[in-house]
Symmetry: C2
Subunit: 305 residues, 2 copies
């Protein structure tokens, strides 16, 4: 009901990072695409199969040294329902290898609909006399613009199935400040959202002091990371924006508490496309990803210490 | 590149309403479920087939008198990738019957990822030498919490494929005010978001004065509807919350301009479950939906005039 399972995995692997699996076809080595297209044609099914093949290679390579993956729903939806099937298969594959899976979907809606999203991504649905987990991820990113009744159904599902959520607080993109940095009285919009995370999290306490309601705070805004770390002592951070988006290790180190926990840092493109840096054959894409993951772990761990 | 195609359909049918297709299994008549489960078992596939069968019945019954449907992505994701296949098939089926389809997904993310969502739901993806529309809806609901660079990719896709978006401004749920009603200087958060819609819409002008960037403003807050109608002259409104959520015709009438256009009102449960009101056999669920749709049209049209 908290994010303890994630924090346990981070401690076990001594690695506070998560690999974002955002598989555009452009990121996928030619030999994988050729094989899939030969079998399924240049179709959404072909694309979806290529992506799954690629994902399996990455997961096999990193599952012992990285605690979690974060598949971004958009990149699967981009290949239609066939792509969404690959999202499902990727979640299962990674979990079978012992990884924690955070679906990055930034879902949001009114209560009744949020119940459906909670069921879809974290819970179980009833079909006749059967109960089935439609996607069964371990955590889901969500957007809190609709307030408490858009979040409450998630808390119920997290309690029942030992899952967690991450609420957008301060995002990593350039224009995040257009709304998020505006002042409501003496607080910014993102601080108001952060306070809500602390409040929502009270229902899902964890053994490390962090609740099941995490926050997304971008690596590209290190000052806000530091400020939010101090102000939100029970809120675990998912930190995107390291690497390709420009966030550095010194900056992301501010997301961690004095015990060296409290956050997990995401990298997507730099890991997925590591094989394109000139030192690898495309057949060694998984080895390249592994090397980048180890480099990232050392980079961040040394900045935390 | 605007919402003109939708407004044309509204004029053609003289009906400013949209039917939300949010198909929980509970809403679906037993005879449809029994048939689907007999063929596919009590599986996600069975559920997905039952929903598609049900949706087709509703669409067949209403396609001549209602301009649009609004499938809510959550209720399809709740039945896994098989459910998402039904979303795809429902979009295509309704479009083949001449309806405008608004996917209610409230998607949001940073620019690169929003490009993927735009491609997924409104645009076309490249697979090898082929170009394919993964879902191909006519409009998509989105959440603007991330600011301009989370919206810009949508504008490009809307321009290219003549599609539209609806941005959450003031949502219909009880807790919508927790963030949306807070004051930034002398404006509320939802007013700030509304202003952004006007700005984003400048890129997608339409022949009726309304741009391709609409706003979601709930029927449950008629005062805000009236206020926003006056302040956002180029922003077309999608108005949820009529019927089951408590919004009445007099309230939603405030979403329309002096020419009787400017908004489309959604009803989901009241239409989908119309057959449960005691006057119908479940086999007549589509007839019941038709009757409710006509009742709703008259109710709203008479309040506008």
């Amino acid at each position: 009901m908290s994010l303890d399972r994630l924090i346990d995995k981070i401690k076990e692997t001594n690695n506070p990072t998560v690999v974002g699996l955002d598989p555009k076809l452009d990121y996928i080595p030619e030999f994988i695409k050729e094989k899939a297209f030969a079998e399924y044609g240049e179709t959404l099914k072909g694309a979806a199969e290529a992506i799954f093949e690629y994902n399996k290679g990455i997961i096999d390579a990193i599952c012992e040294v990285v605690p979690a993956i974060k598949p971004q729903a958009a990149y699967y939806e981009m290949y239609g329902f066939e792509g969404v099937e690959t999202l499902y298969k990727t979640i299962r594959y990674a979990q079978d290898k012992g990884m924690f899976v955070m679906t990055d979907g930034k879902r949001n809606d009114i209560g009744a609909t949020m119940e459906a999203y909670s069921t879809a991504h974290l819970g179980e649905v009833v079909v006749g006399s059967k109960t089935i987990a439609p996607f069964g991820a371990d955590a889901l990113t969500v957007n809190g613009y609709l307030g408490t009744d858009g979040i409450a159904p998630l808390l119920d599902v997290c309690k029942k199935f030992d899952k967690g959520i991450f609420v957008l607080v301060k995002t990593s993109n350039k224009s995040s400040g257009e709304l998020q940095d505006l002042k409501i009285g003496d607080k910014t919009v993102y601080e108001v959202m952060g306070d809500m995370c602390e409040k929502w999290g009270e229902e899902l306490p964890g053994k490390y002091g962090y609740s099941g309601v995490g926050a997304v705070v971008g690596a590209t805004y290190p000052e806000q990371l530091e400020e939010m770390r101090a102000k939100l002592p029970h809120t675990f951070f998912l930190v995107p924006g390291y690497g390709a988006q420009g966030g550095g290790a010194a900056g992301v180190a501010k997301a961690f508490d004095k015990n060296g926990i409290g956050a997990i840092v995401n990298s997507s493109r730099a890991v997925m496309c590591a094989y394109k840096n000139g030192n690898y054959d495309e057949k060694d894409y998984a080895k390249a990803a592994y090397d980048e993951v180890i480099r990232m772990r050392e980079d961040i761990n040394s900045a935390i210490k």
